[in-house]
Symmetry: C2
Subunit: 87 residues, 2 copies
């Protein structure tokens, strides 16, 4: 599946959230990651993040599609993610 993940977490938890996201996805922009994951990988990512965040304060939103073909990506201005992150 294709995954877009956006996070809004407290500064003190950001390093752990970033480390987990980087393990599974490519960095796109400030608080955004994207990538292709298996269902098992997606579940593992969500489980790890669930134990990392404070659910009363932090927020992580994921958008998933069965295939990257279902989503078109477009950039205005500079592309922040590396070449490996282009769809």
């Amino acid at each position: 599946m294709f995954v877009i993940l956006v996070y809004d977490t407290a500064v003190e938890r950001n390093p752990k959230v970033l480390k987990t996201c980087r393990k599974y996805l490519h960095w796109t922009q400030r608080s955004v990651f994207q990538g292709e994951l298996s269902t098992a990988q997606y579940r593992a990512l969500m489980t790890t993040l669930n134990t990392t965040i404070d659910p009363e304060y932090d927020s992580i939103v994921t958008y998933t599609a069965r295939s990257p073909d279902m989503i078109e990506s477009s950039t205005l201005g500079i592309t922040l993610g590396g070449p490996g992150d282009i769809l």
Copy 2:
């Protein structure tokens, strides 16, 4: 079409970018908006943003799908967008 928009723009241009995004989309999280737009509305949004940002410094990424049914959204922790923003 269904649109997810993430922005990473300089602080001084944020108010203008936010105002434009709010006109067309619902706020989801920190630097993320989403919503359903016609092709004409999407083009108008992109044109306005293109004249607002500094293309050498700012970055706006959009993900579009033909229909919201193609994208599943899931939240860990708190939901920051209002009730009107739930998919």
